[in-house]
Symmetry: C2
Subunit: 346 residues, 2 copies
């Protein structure tokens, strides 16, 4: 980073002021500035903790992700993990490393992006670390939350349960395809383009929906869809020791995603199963509870809950299209293949 900014302490002071201005979200005895943050959980609550590392050219590209987008997304992926447990997010620790030529304004914009998402969910940034990076931007966010009841695990789905997912799938992948192309695909409306690129750059994790589902009767297991349902659903099934059957033609794909897929000659279903980064919630529930949960999410949050299949006894996941079993595109596994610096999949 530029050496003329008065060093690390000045940066820490600026971030501290920014975080303090964001308002006290409660439960913070000491925030940024000491060796540790000192936090006061609610009596009787369990503490939820999750951490995610985001790297330039693996998880995002500076070509289209502004510093504020990076800050937003780094917080979003962690908020989604807390939501998936049915908990409430409370405190974030944000570590950032960026190249020497990064300006103080870019660093502040990064933190403002994170705070823009933190603030409406009453999340306080209580700690962090800043460093020079010899190789691009990299961010680690650790998010702490609380659960008052039993957290929703991914290991408690049972045969006979319904499988369901919030919102649409494949939208972030459609957005990524547009961003990688660099120019707008012909015949796609500006509103649709804005929808899909925002889904990729500034995902809106299901924070309130997750907290509500965490307290709702009949939800048996829950996780977020971060790597694509083609990877995440087999994880839920394996952790629960059950099998699952998915009707691929019931996977929710919205109009914007279909329009982009049509314009680019891409497969919207493959985006829905293997695109990843949608940060929707995947849940299993008692069959009899589905309709109540669906209506609850629609009425309270205007969010659609779609039944996509069933939990069965056994192991493995079978995917059916028009009644025939098919193989689906899996999501993105960070270790399965190396992302190429100029490649198709960040």
């Amino acid at each position: 980073m530029s050496g003329d900014r008065g060093g690390e302490d000045a940066l820490v002071r600026a971030i501290r002021e920014l975080s303090a201005r964001a308002g006290d979200a409660g439960g913070v005895r000491v925030g940024i500035g000491d060796d540790c943050a000192v936090l006061e959980p609610h009596a009787g609550a369990t503490v939820l903790a999750t951490t995610d590392l985001l790297l330039e050219d693996v998880h995002f590209r500076r070509r289209w992700a502004e510093p504020a987008d990076i800050g937003w997304k780094a917080l979003a992926v962690n908020l989604s993990d807390i939501a998936a447990m049915g908990g409430r997010p409370r405190w974030a620790l944000v570590a950032l490393a960026c190249p020497e030529e990064t300006t103080a304004e870019e660093v502040v914009a990064f933190y403002e992006g994170a705070l823009a998402l933190a603030r409406p969910h009453d999340v306080a940034v209580v700690g962090g670390d800043t460093s020079a990076s010899p190789a691009g931007w990299l961010v680690n966010v650790t998010l702490l939350g609380e659960a008052t009841g039993a957290p929703r695990l991914r290991s408690s789905a049972r045969p006979g349960d319904r499988l369901a997912v919030t919102g649409p799938l494949g939208r972030a992948a459609a957005g990524l395809a547009v961003l990688e192309r660099g120019t707008a695909p012909p015949g796609v409306s500006a509103a649709h383009l804005a929808d899909v690129t925002a889904a990729h750059l500034r995902p809106r994790p299901r924070v309130e929906e997750g907290a509500w589902l965490g307290g709702a009767a009949g939800v048996t297991a829950m996780m977020d869809v971060s790597d694509g349902i083609g990877i995440d659903l087999p994880r839920l099934a394996a952790e629960s020791g059950v099998a699952a059957r998915i009707d691929v033609d019931r996977l929710p794909v919205d109009e914007a995603t279909r329009a982009v897929a049509a314009a680019l000659g891409a497969d919207a279903t493959a985006w829905a199963t293997g695109g990843g980064e949608d940060y929707e919630l995947l849940l299993s529930c008692e069959s009899a509870a589905f309709e109540r949960l669906r209506r609850g999410l629609a009425d309270r949050f205007g969010v659609r809950l779609t039944a996509i299949g069933e939990v069965t006894a056994g192991t493995g996941v079978s995917w059916r299209l028009h009644g025939r079993e098919i193989t689906v595109a899996r999501g993105f596994e960070h270790f399965a293949a190396r992302p190429t610096p100029s490649g198709a999949r960040p």
Copy 2:
């Protein structure tokens, strides 16, 4: 990372088993494997949280740091932050990114290095994230701890207090100088070389000492010495709104560090003030309490507490050598100057 290892899930399973074998440190309802860890703090305790990002060629070099050393050190720097608050470390989240060519054995060695330090302090690894890195190893550890009484802040030193530091200073810098040189300096004993290189590669944070000082009467402020006392002490003074006077000839420098400095024609005092990475504890205490604290640390832990100066009214830090005011080498500020990939200071 090598693509033939069965992907990210297999790695997560291996790390989960490794962490589980490390024993249940308590308070973990759900560890690695779900969207979040689910933790149960003690009733009435505050939760301490700290995070640190360590990057190859900024904070360590693969030329001499083995994967197990990196894991150890990433945990050590965070343990030191919890110790500096007078708290007890409990739960760690460890995120790792490493290059494609990294083997599964190296990743496991990294986690074993972290666990080798976690285990004796009853710290459980409860979460993490793994990713491919396009540019070297990078590690983020977030450590959560607990404090039952009031945590020791860096902002509560008062004029008239004594300033003191645990253990010796400058040893990690001496170790780094030896490692950078590549060959043993002439005339330095093997034991001294082992002392200083271990101080750099495998620092032993003052975990038990910090917890004891956290409960001892008369300690007014505390922080750890991570960037060098030349940077860290001015931080403590500024946060407390006080000035400080340090007698440089009283700074504790051990025989091994002096021997290496003599052999290399280096300045041991500059290492002690500006070398950083010693992870000793710097504290202010009531004058009358010093002797009791000194004896307590010596008797319980065999650790020396050295009085190095006084807190005074005003602002700023003055450094005196043989009664004359001098300017001291400052520690390493990550943003003050860019580390050069082949440079003198990682």
